[in-house]
Subunit: 551 residues, 2 copies
């Protein structure tokens, strides 16, 4: 029976189901699609990265035959080193994606052992019962692909992140003809991007951004400073073309922007018009009216080039009256505050600032509702599984499929770790596999758990108080005045008086003891009494750490 | 000279300049407009409230003659108890605002001493050289007002929060005729709401929400659950009217919603059609198809009614298949995550959920750009000061005024604490007064400072490690094995091995000592060595607290 069943499992995405990783299984063969990571937010203090839980995959590592990567964004490839250090498995992806993966593997010193093969749209990789074909899609990074995963039960279309752009800048269309053709043959399952299932209509073309950017670059009198995502190569192309058209030169600054522009140029993804690119050290001699700067910092990252310019701490570039700064990006949820803070500072320094709320200087990389309908109509699948979205996006995408005529029993909303089983009799959610998140903090992977994060949150809320009592082992009395210290709990004046109160309290608590002491009891009593006293005085709940020494 | 100068000072707003409080001074007289608070975000761990810095006002308390409140939202009245406990000063506001202020004063046991007078639009209060007239404005709470502050140099228009709504639900228009009339006479200064200076066009009317809500309530088959801001009385009115029209009864739940509906009803702001309102305990016997529930929780507040329904922990109301939940609100910046989490949970429980991204079930309470232009054209002020917005909003609003023909030297962008001085020769930014934020944490007001918050943030990021070493006073050697404990630093397995390593390190550090000990030096060494060891092992930076006892 298991031999004739296709199993589909979303894994990882921190609420965005299947965003980071998906597993497909048939018989003894397992393949993974994408191995990405998420960035932590305020609910994960101190955590560096969040990666999918590989437990299920590693428990079945002898069955894992290949990993397919749809495109080079962090949330789809960022965790690949963490998987490859645990499992030897061949990886397949398009050229730019491979370039970005190699950078990661090098950082993790995994380049030697890893086998990452470049494919092109149309290529088919056979893995046991699966034949996996890459097809081109439009998205906000070159070399984005969807997958047609042929199985003995019929083909599965896995869109990856995509939009439909009929006038893309770098010739990267979503291959609607291939999908139509597949639909004619009969598709078993569609797994499609749901990120913008809330948004009515069509996502605008990159062409619209080209027009807006060209207008602002054309009308600027002083320098133009443009920031965008470093991986959004088409945006860089727009700026290069517009700068050349208006007789300006382009200077690139910010580590990841310099790296990505270099790689995209070397791999042939960027066309550099004439000698438009110049080194940042030549900028001083170049007139402002002939200058465009492309830099990092679209998300207000603290050490990025734009943030340093905004703060006045950039070594080469200080913002001045007459500068036009363009944020060709949207703030990713969670980054709004840092982004808008930068805008405020840039304006205070005298720049004109153009950003997403004021002009069409950015378009999204995901399909809106009308585009999703096109895909459904072309593929006409037997079953539908919305992926890549929070729960409400999946529900809205499922409802959209039902509006288009799908039977509600054939459309499934899964959460991470749930297993969709399909055989020739039907499809059902058959159970779950482990699919937690794994926190990376420093060099610890999975050492930090939610319990530790709760401790951190508590420390953040009210700080801590350490009380130190040295007690005579013979009579249980304090051998000297107790010491009390606090961190993150109270301001200096308040602290002094509170700490005095705590010292007195400890003297009172321990003063009455004699010889026979129950140490664990007195430890708890001291902790509770100090906590209660401080709460009464301040209505705060610091962590109280009693240190008791028998001397 | 000072006698002939008007001084205008924005105070408090956590980046939203003058949102919480403004001060106007002429000669020996000072008046304040609004005394509100801000809610902290992730940058202020553990802080309960943020209030304006009253230092400048209290330093000049003998000159402070009156406080005027424009409307009853927290960011305009929330800090009034904190001011009134320091200063005896008469307060003037409209009726509903007074009702909301009294609730606060009662909680703070300040009701007896406070003098809060009710005025109506058109009323004029004379305070020394000032004559302050209230005028009606549309906003998202009844009894919102702007102020015309007449001064010996001419009248100042202070809009407060406002929009222009020609078809408001509760008859609350912005009094354009009065402003036109004032403009004819010649206005000195316009201080106007800049919150939506980024948004093109007009803010839609509350009427549009009425139509959308009525449609969803009309077409629902099961229960309808509506959440909104408790102070958005017009929204409650819409729901009551629509429920009555469709033969449904309305049940109110959630403390602040119950309180506000009760107060609005008692004061005559709500028209209750027939016997449409019923008690929550009667709900069980009432058919779902005839039920509407109005509840708190529009911002995903953890203990609100809707959040408890979403989590399955509400005592009376469990979400079921067939329920329609309407979020008639936008998430306030910072609350997105909690709001969307609730939506996901409500959908998982089987409800249909209608929210801002899907339908016109909310409109904003602030004027967009075309409305701002109307105000500028009517008032035609000599000078302009954009208020109530982050820096970029103020800049955009100033630029709008300049586009409308104002001289750029006559439009001023201030930050909190900056002083705009106007006399009969001109206007200029003349200096600053103290205008920090004051954090309220528990019962401490201003005890917690940014230094404490940095400590908290650090504790949140990497936790702490306490090392305890008992040292023989005679020879400086450890008298027993050192103790090490950690919080929020490492997971259980990791901790055990790390703590062993730290113990050994302490033995090594202190092992070599003999008799003559420099205590402060050894304390620092221990701290640094442990921190360095842990960083090397984990790439984390916990706070290391050494406790050393001479025994």
């Amino acid at each position: 029976m298991a031999g004739q069943t296709l199993r589909v499992i979303p894994l990882g995405g921190l609420g965005e189901i299947g965003r980071n990783m998906m597993v497909y299984e048939y018989g003894d063969t397992m393949i993974a699609v994408d191995v990405g990571l998420m960035f932590p937010d305020a609910e994960h203090p101190g955590v560096d990265l969040i990666i999918p839980d590989f437990q299920y995959v590693l428990d079945n590592v002898d069955r894992l035959k290949a990993v397919f990567l749809t495109h080079g964004h962090e949330d789809h490839i960022g965790a690949i080193p963490f998987l490859l250090r645990e499992a030897q498995v061949p990886v397949f992806c398009l050229q730019l994606t491979r370039g970005l993966v190699q950078v990661k593997l090098k950082e993790h010193r995994l380049l030697d052992g890893a086998e990452v093969s470049v494919v092109e749209p149309g290529d088919v990789i056979d893995v046991g019962p699966f034949s996996v074909e890459f097809f081109s899609v439009s998205h906000s990074i070159p070399d984005s692909a969807g997958l047609i995963i042929d199985t003995p039960l019929g083909p599965v279309v896995h869109t990856g992140d995509f939009k439909i752009d009929h006038t893309p800048l770098l010739g990267q269309h979503t291959d609607l003809a291939r999908l139509a053709n597949l639909g004619d043959e009969g598709a078993l399952l569609l797994c499609a991007d749901s990120t913008y299932a809330e948004i009515e209509g069509y996502t605008p073309s990159e062409q619209r951004v080209a027009e807006a950017l060209d207008r602002y670059i054309g009308e600027a009198e002083g320098r133009v400073i443009v920031t965008t995502f470093a991986s959004l190569i088409s945006r860089v192309q727009i700026v290069l073309d517009s700068a050349a058209k208006h007789g300006r030169r382009v200077f690139v600054t910010g580590r990841s922007m310099v790296n990505n522009v270099g790689m995209a140029r070397d791999l042939g993804y960027l066309r550099i018009p004439g000698n438009v690119l110049m080194g940042v050290n030549e900028m001083k001699q170049h007139p402002d009216s002939k200058t465009v700067i492309i830099c990092t910092g679209s998300q207000g990252e603290p050490t990025s080039a734009l943030t340093r310019m905004a703060n006045g701490t950039h070594q080469q570039i200080g913002i001045q009256e007459g500068d036009t700064v363009i944020l060709s990006s949207n703030p990713v949820p969670g980054n709004e505050k840092s982004v808008y803070k930068n805008i405020d500072l840039l304006m205070e320094a005298g720049a004109r600032v153009i950003y997403n709320r004021l002009a069409d200087v950015h378009v999204r990389g995901h399909a809106s509702r009308e585009e999703l309908k096109v895909i459904h109509r072309l593929v006409r699948p037997r079953y539908f599984l919305p992926i890549h979205g929070e729960y409400r996006h999946l529900v809205l995408h499922r409802d959209l499929a039902i509006q288009l005529g799908m039977d509600e029993d054939d459309a499934f909303v899964l959460t991470d770790g749930e297993v969709l089983e399909i055989d020739d009799r039907g499809a059902e959610i058959s159970g779950t596999v482990p699919a937690d998140y794994v926190y990376v903090d420093g060099i610890g992977i999975g050492e930090i758990d939610d319990f530790v994060l709760r401790d951190r949150q508590r420390l953040a809320d009210d700080g801590l108080v350490v009380v130190v009592a040295a007690i005579d082992r013979h009579n249980g009395k304090l051998t000297r005045p107790p010491e009390v210290m606090s961190h993150g709990f109270a301001g200096p004046d308040e602290e002094a008086s509170l700490m005095e109160g705590v010292q007195q309290l400890i003297v009172d608590v321990l003063g009455g003891e004699d010889t026979a002491i129950d140490w664990s009891e007195i430890h708890e009593t001291l902790k509770d009494d100090v906590a209660e006293y401080l709460h009464k005085q301040t209505r705060r709940h610091p962590l109280v750490i009693p240190v008791m020494l028998e001397v």
